[in-house]
Symmetry: C3
Subunit: 153 residues, 3 copies
Amino acid sequence: MTAMDARRRFLLFLAGALLSGPGFAAAPPKKKAPAPKPETKTRVVIQVSDSDSKRWNLALTTAKTLQSEYGEEKIDVAIVALGAGINMLKDDADVSNRVQSAIARKIFIIACHSSMSALNVTEDNLGRNVFVVPSGAAEIVKRQRDGWIYLRP
Amino acid sequence: MTAMDARRRFLLFLAGALLSGPGFAAAPPKKKAPAPKPETKTRVVIQVSDSDSKRWNLALTTAKTLQSEYGEEKIDVAIVALGAGINMLKDDADVSNRVQSAIARKIFIIACHSSMSALNVTEDNLGRNVFVVPSGAAEIVKRQRDGWIYLRP
Amino acid sequence: MTAMDARRRFLLFLAGALLSGPGFAAAPPKKKAPAPKPETKTRVVIQVSDSDSKRWNLALTTAKTLQSEYGEEKIDVAIVALGAGINMLKDDADVSNRVQSAIARKIFIIACHSSMSALNVTEDNLGRNVFVVPSGAAEIVKRQRDGWIYLRP
């Protein structure tokens, strides 16, 4: 074995030791744990932008089904109403009972203020515990950037 | 050259060899390949939730166009039907031929069982080789979490 | 100290030096900076695939609202028209003024050529400064893969 060979073998051993990490038993260099996944909880933002009670019912059913499939504590669901979808959240809408029952199950129900103004809907016209945000579209974009998954039933 | 200098130079050489990897020609230390990008294959999940054959045709055309644009082996396309979209997958739907031809081109066609029950549609009413999942919405959410891109034509 | 101990200590020192990087003061191995976050600018791609001027107006309002909420220089907004949505971009569409005013505000307006062919719409029929892409769906998929957020009003 030449000196060169010896050095090469040593380097290879060393490379192996350093790169394999855990195999370097005596005192493994502290390896940074892999960054935790950004979220484990599934989060879904559902958009309603139609003036159509079939669509409203589908959105509410979708929210409910997701909660059942995942388990209430493993998923966050938000429904954002904008455009003509705002009418879904009025306290005299034909789905108002379902909306309230969704809120009782901790589904976030969110109204777009900008659409409310366009449709002359005030906060007084909305069912109880409906959140109001300045822009429903901006809210959906923000939530998507935060990792929420978008559904548009 | 002092002993200290020599050691420093050796360390630097070593650091270079280890870090640059491929430059260490004689017998490159096995470097873990950089983690592959989560997917290189493009994957698209298309939702159909309308009872409207124009929409069904648009969904099928979209799937076909994506396959042509990307090349069949470079893209996975799934169409998930839920709500009234289920009717698209019945074996007597007016797009049933197009659905079967999509399946022949390896597009996944998936029906929401929960919507099927609501609409009194059984598996016997569906075209051949249509997959059935408990919840279409949960399926779309799951696929999005796995990196599938969402389209809602 | 045995020869083995000495070698182990040397390896540990070396491992520390290489792994800790910045602590190796004399000539720190160049550490790659952590990859910058893919984008700080928010980018939103809005799909229009309906033949319905209410929907067209909602898409245009959504684009405008997002620009106001974020500030024009902090957000890129693209509207992609496909399917029957193409009619929105014709120079005689009832929203053509709003489309041109969106373009003036640097909103990208994009037409799907494949849908244009299907509807016998030529580039001459489109308003000024509308981009044309081979496939609107492929364009939306590509932008989503590049980090654009998808909205389907």
